[in-house]
Point group: C2
Chain length 290, copies 2
Amino acid sequence: LAKDIKNEVKSDISKWVEKGNRNPNLTVVLVGEDPASATYVKNKISACKKVGIQSDTITKDPSITQDELLNLLDKLNKDNAVDGVLVQLPLPDHIDERTICNAVAPEKDVDGFHISNVGRLCLDQPCLLPATPAGIWEMLKRTGIETFAKTAVVCGRSKNVGMPIAMLLHTDHRHERAGGDATVTQTHRYTPKEQLKMFTKSADIVVVAAGIPNLITADMVKEGACIIDVGINRVKDEATGKFKLVGDVDFDGVKQVAGHITPVPGGVGPMTVAMLCKNTLMAAQKKIAY
Amino acid sequence: LAKDIKNEVKSDISKWVEKGNRNPNLTVVLVGEDPASATYVKNKISACKKVGIQSDTITKDPSITQDELLNLLDKLNKDNAVDGVLVQLPLPDHIDERTICNAVAPEKDVDGFHISNVGRLCLDQPCLLPATPAGIWEMLKRTGIETFAKTAVVCGRSKNVGMPIAMLLHTDHRHERAGGDATVTQTHRYTPKEQLKMFTKSADIVVVAAGIPNLITADMVKEGACIIDVGINRVKDEATGKFKLVGDVDFDGVKQVAGHITPVPGGVGPMTVAMLCKNTLMAAQKKIAY
């Protein structure tokens, strides 16, 4: 699916350029030298290049002040050669992430973190959606998973994944920004394990974004349910002693019961990157009227 | 509780005025001659006066254009003698309500409908909260209803009641705008009745804002649960042939099972008006940094 989306974006960009437009531009701002952040940025840039998005990375020393960063964003907001602006999180402690997210122009905010995009999402209006929930949504729609009048559980209430996907799933399909019309239960760190199981056991769709390996096991899942694993956890493999990436779901156990399940790595991750490409094209084409 | 809140607001306003400030001002804009809207506005103004809020109502002919209304709001936004601005909904069809809600300055938006206030609510930031969910929240807190790690069902997904109360109930108590840490299920018109019952039957708290008389009956409620009825429905009394106001809950039946229950009329309604007064004082004191 991620490949399909990237191919569609690539084809749309070709047509866009044939019409006399320049290639979309994504400018990524990376503060500091966190190796995980550097890897994420590298993957995003690489995917963008493949579909015809021209990408720049501006790397800043972690000593940059908040005002300097705000000035940089102001310049990028005003730069007509820049369509999408992405500030890789996390930022150093002396910089307020919310202030920075709100300083990216909403129409260039390909991460969907600006308060206007959050407000629009929650009011069922067209918006730039955060790439991870957008990717989950696309996955459900393109696989033909029914959400209408179904039950869904979203484990995790983060503002970039749990909250937005719960919002997409429960809202009205007839609204401007269409929703899934599912009955949605949102669980979190304080949901007792027995309660969590009670909800997941009867759910048609379970989206897990908790950051807890093996949170969801086979005994917690309804036969035929759709299980979407957003977790990325680095754990030691007991057999080999090496580190490996796992999700929040016991994949081998749950796949015996579930109707659909996403792997980690290779599931939601590639969809997220594909949706970032799609968001950048949307920003370049000014698809949303702000 | 509504009286308590109004008395607190009255006392706070006295202190505020003793310090040399003028009384808070709420300006209500009423378009057209809908009798229900006129009654609501009258009740709001009357409550405001009693606590020391100076209130003006600007009544406009339904033929007012959107631009004329926007100009009026612009003037009110710039007027330092006005602390709170409330545009009574609904508006005539030729006026876009979302455009109008976004045209009230966020710091004067005592209805909490501006996209910035919606975004802040959903990001767990301090904000002017819509008065109805704010009233429900105060009711829970002041009654000592535990929400932490409890289960709650919110019936209805409207943007002024269902969505905000679900947001308040499920979010983190340690965040800037504190939440209730409940596990929350949001149901709506497409939730099958059997599913609804499954969820309400095991819920510690049920908030009903669906606009459907007798949606919640005794067999759907857990022993000792807290039931909050936001519905206001005008129905014909079979016995007398007269019209009366009822909520969404079968009050007489459910009160036998519930631990707490709110009546209609007289429950959430007065709390809503009290919270509007509180919001106006907050706006006057500029309690929230926008």
